[in-house]
């Protein structure tokens, strides 16, 4: 648990930022040193210009000109080298930091205990793992920039103090109020920029959404309606952009005016001092040059400030994901090995389930018919230990699932949802996902799920790469591949939900008979209302109103139970 942290168990946004910067501290320290050298050199350039005016141009001394030009050349060499190295290290640190965050977010979301994906859409999580991680990485990279900018300010202040104490003090005392003013001016701008970005992202999202639904739009001939919807969001985005642009323009203008006045004041004070002989003409030139140079570090500090503001919001979002509580806690126990596959539900209550008692003998094939789709869904979540039930227990071989490690539960009980996702890999690799088996050993699973036919219809057979979560296949083909994957994993307990709803009748009956053969001796639970599949089970249980309402052979139930007949035969 974090010490004194406002939330338990997970990092806060501030902590994410601190850890990110801390994780790159060596790189950042090195880059800061080099950046300091770079800025110091930049600050010295106007000083050397002043010296050349003073010692060479004013006096007409050619050898002095030559030697000072050599100094200038040396200065540029150091400046260039230190800049280059610092930039490499700094921006590299930002990339490395973003990479680490991305990996951490990925690991948290994919964690077997779940929880991070609840209530968040894949697109939103992806945006956090890419955009937000990059932004927090940029904060780490901004640290050396801040250090070097401050160094530049310090060096020029020292130079100015050496030229003249009043001039140096003027800069030192003038800069803070100038920074403060700049900050005050940029506050409303940040707000408007945020709205601008939000609207732009919204318009972009609407466009992507409409294009994603293009087939649907074409189907109902809604192109014009869709276009005018996009135009509305685009105009909204335009309005926000114009507001933001106006304040950005005035912000830039105000900063320009402020710094111009500042330089004028320094020039005037310097000129007075030069007139009275307190400083030389060259020192006046140096002072003015330094005042001009100061704009650079100012802008750098403004940039760093902006990065921090953006980075904080991003860090908060990342922290939210990283600290999301797991959906199920880890258990210590491991299921008995080998797993017999006895599943027992006692007083199970969760969501649409109220009080379900159920005993499933090892090796049997049991059908579950749920009149309420929500009940089927909740049952699947409880069986796969994607969540722990509010009431009652689920036991595997006499051990409660809540006492088991979620990973080992899923090794023993595999829940295959009817809308299971395929991944961007070859059909064969998709089927091989849950097993180490060789290609040859997959043949029974492919055949049982009639996925061998799917492979045959593809241009490169089972080696064909499926695109975008299997969207290149039809619904029925996708289901068959997903079912083959579940069968190939060969778990002691297999729970399949509606594996054939998108499959044609002939193929369905083939799958039904083969499924039974391939699962021989291992527990199989079919959550479905397909009579073809149910006919192949040893026993069927019907859930109605959240409890077991009927139980028996499919044939018996069809003959003797009106509710069952209406649920299954429709």
């Amino acid at each position: 648990m974090s010490l004194g942290g406002p939330t338990e168990g997970g990092p806060t946004g501030a902590r994410v930022l601190r850890n990110t910067i801390g994780g790159q501290r060596r790189r950042l320290a090195g880059a800061s040193l080099l950046g300091m050298a770079h800025q110091a050199c930049e600050a010295l350039v106007p000083v050397v210009i002043g010296l050349i005016i003073d010692r060479a141009v004013t006096t007409g001394d050619a050898s002095s000109l030559l030697s000072w030009l050599l100094v200038l050349a040396g200065l540029f060499l150091v400046l260039s080298t230190s800049y280059r190295t610092a930039a490499l290290i700094t921006d590299g640190a930002g990339e490395h930091a973003a990479h680490r965050l991305r990996i951490a977010i990925g690991a948290r979301v994919l964690d077997p205990r779940g929880g991070a994906d609840a209530g968040r859409l894949p697109g939103a999580l992806t945006a956090i793992a890419t955009g937000d991680a990059t932004r927090v990485g940029a904060v780490a990279a901004a640290v050396p920039y801040a250090v070097s900018a401050l160094t530049g300010l310090t060096v020029s202040a020292v130079m100015l103090l050496r030229v003249s104490v009043p001039l140096g003090l003027l800069v030192l005392l003038g800069v803070p109020p100038l920074l403060w003013l700049g900050h005050r001016i940029s506050q409303p701008l940040e707000q408007r920029s945020e709205i601008e970005q939000e609207r732009a992202a919204h318009a972009s999202g609407v466009a992507a959404d409409l294009v994603a639904g293009l087939r649907v739009l074409k189907g109902i001939g809604a192109e014009t309606a869709a276009h005018s919807r996009y135009r509305r969001t685009s105009q909204d985005s335009l309005t926000a952009a114009l507001r933001a642009a106006r304040s950005r323009a005035w912000h830039d203008g105000a900063i320009l005016a402020l710094t111009g006045v500042f330089i004028a004041v320094i020039g005037l004070v310097g000129a007075h001092l030069a007139m009275s002989g307190a400083i030389s003409v060259g020192e006046l030139v140096a002072a003015v040059g330094l005042a001009q140079y100061l704009l650079g570090p100012f802008q750098l500090l403004t940039y760093v400030n902006g990065e921090f503001a953006l980075g904080r919001a991003s860090a908060d979002r990342i922290a939210d994901v990283l600290s999301s509580p797991p959906a199920v806690p880890t258990g210590e126990a491991v299921p008995t090995s080998p797993t017999a596959g006895r599943v027992r539900l006692r007083g199970l209550g969760h969501g649409a389930l109220h009080n379900v008692d159920l005993d499933i003998a090892p090796g049997s094939t049991v059908g579950v018919v749920a009149k309420d789709p929500a009940a089927a869904h909740d049952l699947l979540l409880c069986l796969g230990r994607e969540l722990d039930p509010d009431e009652g227990t689920v036991e595997l071989d006499g051990v409660r699932l809540t006492e088991l490690d979620p990973v080992s539960v899923r090794r023993a009980i595999l829940v295959a949802h009817h809308d299971a996702d395929l991944f961007e890999a070859s059909l064969l690799d998709n089927v091989r996902a849950g097993t180490d088996a060789d290609e040859a050993d997959l043949a029974p699973a492919l055949s049982a799920a009639a996925a061998d036919d799917v492979a045959r219809a593809l241009p490169e057979g089972a080696a064909t790469v499926l695109t975008e979560r299997g969207r290149s296949l039809s619904g029925g083909q996708r289901q068959r591949v997903a079912l083959a994957r579940a069968i190939a994993a060969d778990p002691p307990v297999l729970v399949v939900h509606d594996p054939t709803v998108a499959v044609d009748t002939v193929t369905e009956s083939r799958i039904a008979s083969r499924l039974r053969a391939v699962r021989d001796g291992r527990t199989t639970i079919l959550v479905t209302s397909s009579p073809t599949l149910l006919a192949e089970t040893d026993r069927v249980v019907m859930l109605d109103g959240g409890i077991v309402a009927a139980e028996g052979h499919h044939g018996e139930l069809v003959a003797g139970c009106e509710a069952y007949r209406s649920a299954v035969l429709g």
């Binding site: 189907g219 192109e223 007139m275 998108a502 299954v568 035969l569």
Partner: protein, 610 residues
């Protein structure tokens, strides 16, 4: 079959036919049109910016004047005028910059909005098979990535680039005014700039392009893994997916690091240019002062001018790359905007079908030459008739549905709707008459009512409710947190597949076509949901000619007529009873299906199955 082809999988994408990219001239022409429409604004913006930058350039000579006054020991009172001028210049410059940049941003944003709206409008009206041949990712990446890239350029790169360029040009002019020899001296640095840019641009273009690809792959991997997280957990694939993620991210980071190396090399090369120019100006100043041609103040002003150019030169040269990539994105957008829309999209009024009958004759289609999907299909559907299409996966049911809906153009044969050939109706005319509810379930992001209004934009809430009632969906819609106003789809309230299909049927009711095609519309909903949807579909079809791609045989049994497709041909047609009696293919399907529902003891059945 998988044998010889295995291992070539990675090269498949080459067969894709990407959407076109505009040429430079076309891109400029596309920019020119909206700019001409706003030429007053453009002229005003440029005028104010030039004035502002010009005023700003007075700073250096004024400071030079201060130096001269000091050298001449003219007394402190002489400083008042340049001092007041300096402050005035600073304020005027700020004001001009504020106005100028607002105007430029306004112009840029208006042109941008115009471009993106035209582009999306055209993208939505492209023929679907054109989009599909390019892969859905092509259009999506243009709609999001390229538009965003241009937006960023318009908001950040363009104003900065313009300001820097302006500063450079006017500063060079200022140097020439001081003494033309200063300008010549400064130009000595130009070869360094040219060499640097020529070194940088080709390398950067390649690295950035590869970085974008790697970034896309990373994004894709994230969506793949996170979108399928339930499956990842069920199959204990966390490790494998975390590894792919790590690899993708590492690839993107490596390319980003290469890009950083390039940028660092770019700026450190430009440092050499800074030194060459500065040294040249100082030496020139030295010689000119020595020769008595210019004052020390002028030499100072020249040096300060050039020192002040360091940042604008760096910015302008660096932004060349951004401007170039924005140009590339723009070309990709204009390429789509310039594509012809679907024929008939604009013409609107043509001959209208007399009724809702359909006559299909000798229809042929193939997606790949030599692999016919449909061959010689003849089919007549009377007005108001409900016909079920039955057949195994791959029999050509969906293709027939798509051809009829005008989504693809048939390779041969004809489709006549209400007495008019679809080629004369045009895709838009066809879609006015025919609505297709496809396998695809997509819920449009935004309020649920807005989703429905895509089908009928002027529909009142009452009409929406009536449509929902008709498909039996009003109950669950009203039970949503904010009823019809509930935000659904990506980023909103998540609907179940059944609910999404309900919406699709409600859209059909609102679109109110005379001919409706339902393609496996109930397939993904799960068996319990399927039955709910079947009855909703029947109600949605009332009063229309209906073509149902039937998956579940009961759908076929209740239709007026059943058409059995096999390998792209019509093999049987007739009423359910006729076909069952005929003892052909349909009868076999029906037997297989009803077998499983017969209330017989199980053992005999299982024996029979093997």
């Amino acid at each position: 079959m998988s044998g010889p082809a295995a291992g070539r999988t990675s090269e498949r994408d080459t067969s894709r036919e990407l959407l076109p990219t505009a040429t430079g001239a076309q891109t400029l022409a596309a920019l020119g049109a909206p700019l001409r429409r706003h030429r007053l604004l453009a002229a005003l913006a440029i005028g104010v910016l030039v004035t502002g930058t010009g005023i700003g350039l007075l700073t250096a000579p004024l400071l030079g004047r201060l130096v001269d006054l000091v050298v001449a020991q003219r007394g402190t009172s002489a400083l008042t005028v340049p001092m007041v001028l300096l402050v005035a210049v600073a304020v005027a410059r700020g004001v001009a910059a504020g106005i100028g940049r607002s105007l430029v941003a306004r112009l840029g944003e208006i042109v941008l909005a115009d471009l993106r709206e035209r582009f999306v409008g055209r993208a939505l009206r492209l023929p679907l098979d054109r989009v599909e041949r390019a892969g859905s990712g092509d259009l999506t990446s243009r709609v999001t990535g390229d538009v965003m890239m241009i937006t960023k350029a318009v908001r950040v790169a363009l104003p900065e680039f313009a300001a820097a360029l302006l500063t450079i040009v006017l500063t060079l002019a200022g140097l020439a005014v001081l003494d033309w020899r200063f300008l010549v001296a400064v130009l000595l640095a130009v070869p360094v700039h040219i060499l640097t840019v020529r070194w940088y641009i080709p390398r950067a273009a390649s690295v950035y392009a590869r970085h974008r690809v790697a970034g896309g792959a990373l994004q894709h991997q994230l969506l793949d893994s996170i979108g399928g997280v339930r499956t990842v957990r069920a199959f204990r694939l966390t490790g494998a997916h975390a590894q792919s993620l790590e690899r993708r991210s590492r690839e993107a980071v490596d390319l980003a690091l290469r890009g950083i190396r390039l940028v660092a090399g770019f700026f450190s090369r430009l440092n050499a240019g800074e030194f060459v120019g500065l040294a040249a100006v100082l030496v020139t100043g030295f010689l000119l002062v020595d020769a008595g041609s210019v004052s020390i103040g002028t030499a100072t002003a020249a040096a300060l001018y050039f020192h002040g150019l360091f940042n604008p030169i760096n910015a302008a040269l660096f932004l060349i790359d951004d401007v170039q990539s924005a140009g590339a994105s723009l070309a990709r957008i204009v390429g789509v905007s310039n594509l012809p829309a679907e024929p008939g999209s604009t013409s609107g009024s043509g001959p209208a079908p007399a009724d809702s009958s359909v006559k299909i004759s000798a229809l042929r289609h193939a997606y790949v030459d030599g692999h016919p999907v449909l061959s010689d299909v003849d089919l007549e559907v009377r007005s108001g008739e409900r016909v079920a299409l039955v057949g195994a996966s791959g029999a050509g049911k969906t293709t027939l549905a798509k051809l009829l809906a005008g989504i693809h153009e048939p390779a041969g044969g004809s489709i006549v709707i209400g007495g008019i050939d679809t080629r004369d109706l045009g895709p838009t005319g066809v879609r006015r008459a025919v609505t297709l509810v496809s396998q695809e379930v997509h819920v449009f992001a935004g309020p649920l009512a807005e989703d429905l209004r895509l089908a009928r934009p002027q529909a009142t809430d009452e009409e929406l409710r009536a449509a929902l009632t008709r498909v039996d969906a009003l109950d669950w819609v009203e039970a949503l947190p904010e009823g019809l106003a509930t935000v659904v789809g990506e980023g909103g309230h998540r609907l179940t597949v059944t609910q999404a299909q309900h919406l699709a049927l409600a859209r059909l009711v609102l679109a109110d076509p005379t001919i409706a095609i339902l393609d496996e519309a109930t397939a993904d909903a799960g068996s319990a949901g399927a039955r709910v949807l079947e009855s909703a579909a029947v109600r949605a079809l009332e009063g229309r000619t209906g073509l149902i791609v039937a998956h579940r045989l009961p759908q076929a049994a209740t239709a007026d007529r059943v058409v059995v497709l096999d390998s792209g041909r019509v093999v049987e047609t007739g009423t359910h009873d006729e076909l069952v009696a005929a003892d052909g293919r349909y009868a076999a399907l029906w037997a297989a299906w009803s077998d499983s529902r017969r209330d017989q003891p199980l053992p005999t059945q299982r024996e029979a199955a093997d």
